[in-house]
């Protein structure tokens, strides 16, 4: 096993955007697509779940763009640090501040838009504006400044080939902007949507065998990741797994503990996305089997309806049977507990989990489950009050 130089920090990047192009991995097809489009000054929208590597890809384009496309291009990077979301004037000012664009700020929105349009058209270089986390511009606080005329100006410049946009966001542009632009604005058509998924198995495997600043994973370690770490093709999981294994070269945890540690670290970062994305990836990596697991919408709906009906039926049955044997209050409490248990059993039966997990009913159910401690307290209080009343 070839170990790293221990004095060196881990070369694996976890939870942060990758800013060093040398450490950026995979996404060749996506990069090629984006650069090909940029040659024609066409815009792209990078979407995908959190922690999948959208910002890293966009930053890679930002850093590599000038090398790939030459000096005729000028790249601008806008993110949460750029203070560009306060107003359209700030937005254009931020672009001018990061480039040689001769934008003159103005007091009103119309003049800002005209000045920006003129500045970009007169700009001697091809301007590529990369907006990381586009969501910042589209929330409800920014309707006025970033309204239809703002997007129309961006679209006009993009269509005329004066300015190309690369934006990153978790949701699609349509989802983000529909409250401002409607569901089918021509603004969306300017972009090609690139949806980032997990690495391909080839990309992930080549990451594992690569020499990362002197760190090379041993075959046994690679095998461990490939066979025991769930969803190792996810870029973050891959980095965490490698980092944990690297750390473990000193601590020598047993395999089970190491895997648990990896899982905990992944959970920490991915939180609830892990569940949703994991399911999705499981279906994807299972290849064609995804269709066999997929139930039609009517079936899904049927199950979603059937379960509450069964639950309520059970509740009523319990109530009917027990009401005679127990006191009223005890019967109600028992029926309630039984109903919850009934629901739980039904929900965790077999493959219904997957279907229900995506159904509206499940979402409602999880909310109810969260309220159980509260219900229990309410039931206790009611029981105490009832006892006191009975005593009196």
């Amino acid at each position: 096993m070839l170990l790293r130089d221990d004095s060196r920090a881990s070369p694996f990047i976890i939870g942060k955007m990758i800013t060093d192009p040398a450490r950026f991995w995979g996404r060749k097809r996506e990069c090629q697509d984006i650069f090909t489009r940029l040659q024609k000054m066409e815009s792209s929208s990078i979407t995908g779940p959190r922690r999948i590597g959208k910002s890293s890809l966009a930053y890679y384009i930002y850093k590599q763009g000038p090398k790939q496309l030459g000096e005729a291009y000028e790249f601008v990077w806008l993110d949460g640090q750029s203070n560009h979301s306060a107003s359209a004037n700030h937005f254009f000012g931020a672009i001018a501040g990061s480039s040689s664009l001769a934008y003159r700020s103005a007091d009103n929105l119309t003049d800002c838009l005209i000045n920006f349009e003129d500045a970009v058209k007169a700009h001697p270089k091809k301007l590529v504006v990369i907006i990381n986390e586009f969501e910042i511009l589209t929330d409800e606080n920014h309707h006025f400044e970033f309204g239809k005329s703002f997007y129309d100006t961006l679209r006009l410049l993009a269509e005329q080939g004066c300015c190309a946009l690369i934006i990153t966001s978790c949701a699609s542009l349509k989802e983000l902007c529909k409250h401002v632009l409607g569901v089918s604005s021509p603004f969306y058509n300017v972009f090609e949507q690139i949806t980032l998924k997990h690495f391909t198995t080839e990309e992930a495997d080549s990451f594992l065998v690569h020499n990362h600043d002197g760190v090379i994973m041993a075959p046994s370690e690679i095998q461990l990741i490939q066979t025991k770490v769930a969803f190792y093709q996810h870029p973050l999981v891959l980095q965490i797994a490698c980092d944990s294994i690297l750390e473990n070269r000193e601590s020598n945890l047993p395999e089970a503990d190491l895997l648990k540690q990896i899982e905990e670290r992944v959970s920490h970062f991915l939180a609830h996305e892990k569940v949703q994305e994991g399911r999705r990836m499981k279906r994807e990596t299972a290849g064609n089997s995804k269709d066999s697991h997929k139930l039609s919408k009517p079936t899904d709906m049927l199950i979603s309806v059937l379960i509450p009906v069964l639950g309520i039926g059970l509740l009523m049955l319990e109530y009917g049977l027990l009401i005679r044997a127990l006191s009223n209050l005890q019967a109600v409490l028992l029926a309630l507990v039984t109903a919850i248990l009934g629901f739980a059993i039904l929900i965790f039966v077999g493959r219904s989990v997957d279907i229900i997990g995506e159904s509206a009913f499940y979402k409602l159910f999880s909310q109810i489950i969260k309220q159980i401690p509260l219900l229990s307290n309410v039931a206790d209080t009611i029981a105490q009050v009832a006892t006191k009343l009975q005593g009196k």
Partner: protein, 535 residues
């Protein structure tokens, strides 16, 4: 090595270099560096000169060239070649000549003007397979011992090792300098030209078409389409905030006209003198100033015997900024008086013409009655590409990409219904996939991937059809019904959906052929099936 062999070898290496540069140009489109363009021109000139040397005193084998042209082009393609490369011949032959007559006229012209190398170069570019087949017979000399396959093989390895250039444009309109992927639309050009050449008052023209049909591309390429130097096209876009108030509209439109006149070397100092190039001039009464400008500009156009074609793209956006409240709101929107001034100019100054482009008919706009103001409007409908143009769009811009069978090309044309945006999107995706797989052959599997990729990456277009073109849930129901039962949905089966059917046919989502209803773009159906929640 003989001198002739040396020339041939030189020609081969020039051809290889030219091919590589042309690929680069295709990939970079408008951003191709000037040095590349210059080198292409130089090499073309060198090749022409070498070919002339090769022909030597013996000259060209004219019957062979005639045969080459006959087999390389259909009559329509030949007209297009003339239109693109030999406009003088095009003007001569436009009136219903036969194909062979056109060929004779073209050969005569090229021989007289020493343009034979240019002609051969153009044929080589348009139809390389036929060119290589005839190449050895084109000069009055003994053919070399190379076989056609060897010739093609010399070019082929070059293509294999490099990424294919991707000239297709998806999302943005096609700019005038990207001539490779703007095809067809001659019907639009002819209509515009005939309207322009009418004597007396010119009508205004409405270029009407559904979204993504190529209206903006047609407007941007209008001068290439109409090929008349006397007509100066001026493009303005209604979506620009510069055209949303009277003051801004008048000021910025004048700037655009001034710029176009200057580019055509017309002295416009009079505009400067009269203050038309200063925004403050427009503050008190922009419409009056505009009227004065039109009068002044008309004099200049008369003097230089020119016409101005003012293209207003997305004119509906201007309608949305109409201010109909009483009073002169020059700073708060566009007023009816401005439109009346434009109409007045149309009626009395025939050197100005207006071309509106949008997705609505004039009568459909609600803020003001445009059809009452612009009474003499000729509507041109821009729609799906002709099948032949679609075929050329798929095969010509990147000739190195081969289709395993012509059936695959037919499949693309059928699936997209020759909708220009979808054709560009699939063609672009095919090149991206071919590059990523290092192949130059489109197989059925590769095409499946490209269609899938297009559905994923450009879903917003299909969203638009589903959410906007369908104006009611019953229309969506109708699409579901047809998608579920395609291809055997007869018109009579849809008795209760007649209104919806009529509307979706008008919106070019559905079509009726021989009593059967189907999607104009079967890709919409694929998208619906992919998005199962819709079905």
């Amino acid at each position: 090595m003989s001198s002739e062999a040396q020339i041939r070898q030189l020609l081969n290496s020039y051809n290889s270099r030219l091919h590589m540069l042309q690929q680069r140009q295709a990939a970079m489109g408008i951003s191709t560096p000037a040095d590349v363009l210059v080198e292409i021109e130089q090499i073309e000139a060198e090749i022409a000169s070498l070919q002339a040397k090769l022909a030597g005193g013996k000259g060209y084998n004219l019957p062979a060239i005639r045969d080459l042209l006959t087999s390389a082009f259909s009559s329509e393609e030949l007209t297009e070649l003339l239109y693109d490369e030999f406009p003088h011949v095009y003007e001569d032959v436009a009136s219903g000549m036969s194909k062979s007559q056109k060929i004779v006229r073209l050969i005569e012209y090229c021989e007289r003007r020493l343009l034979m190398p240019k002609l051969l170069m153009a044929v080589r570019q348009y139809n390389p397979a036929q060119y290589f087949q005839y190449e050895k017979q084109l000069f009055l000399e003994e053919p070399s011992s190379e076989t056609i396959d060897e010739r093609v093989a010399q070019v082929a390895p070059l293509k294999k090792t490099r990424l294919l250039g991707n000239p297709y444009v998806v999302g943005n309109p096609i700019q005038p300098d990207n001539t490779k992927v703007f095809l067809g639309r001659f019907d639009i050009a002819k209509s515009i030209i005939s309207e322009i050449r009418r004597s007396g008052q010119k009508p205004s023209i409405l270029l009407y078409g559904r979204r993504r049909m190529g209206k903006t591309s047609a407007l941007l390429n209008i001068s290439r389409l109409i090929r008349d130097r006397n007509i100066l096209p001026v493009y303005i876009s209604g979506q620009s905030v510069k055209f949303h108030t009277n003051i801004d509209f008048c000021y910025y439109m004048i700037q655009a006209i001034n710029e176009q006149l200057q580019q055509n070397l017309i002295n416009t100092t009079v505009f400067q003198q009269k203050g038309f190039l200063t925004r403050t001039t427009f503050m008190p009464n922009p419409i009056l100033t505009l009227s004065e400008f039109f009068t002044e500009c008309y004099r200049l156009l008369e003097l230089h015997e020119r016409y101005t074609l003012l293209s207003i793209d997305e004119y509906e956006e201007i309608d949305q900024h109409m201010n109909t409240s009483p009073g002169n709101h020059h700073e708060r929107g566009i007023t009816r008086e401005l439109l009346l001034e434009l109409r007045d100019t149309l009626q009395h100054k025939p050197r100005f013409m207006f071309l509106f482009a949008g997705t609505h008919f004039l009568r459909d706009l609600s803020t003001v009655n445009w059809s009452e103001i612009f009474i003499n409007v000729k509507t041109l409908h821009i729609s799906f590409l002709e099948r032949g143009d679609g075929y050329k769009l798929l095969t010509r811009p990147v000739p190195e990409l081969r289709y395993e069978s012509t059936g695959l090309i037919e499949r693309i044309l059928d699936t997209t219904g020759c909708q220009p945006f979808l054709l560009q999107a699939i063609a672009s995706e095919l090149i991206n996939i071919a590059n990523s797989k290092d192949t130059r052959v489109v197989t059925s599997q590769l095409l499946d991937e490209a269609i899938e990729g297009t559905l994923d990456e450009h879903g917003t277009y299909f969203d638009y059809i589903w959410d906007t073109e369908c104006t009611s849930s019953r229309q969506q129901e109708l699409l579901r019904l047809i998608a579920g039962q395609a291809p055997n949905v007869s018109e009579t089966m849809l008795g209760s959906y007649q209104d919806e059917l009529r509307d979706l046919i008008r919106r070019e989502v559905l079509k009726v052929q021989k009593g059967f209803v189907s999607f104009t773009m079967p890709m919409v159906m694929l998208w619906m099936k992919k998005n199962i929640h819709i079905l």
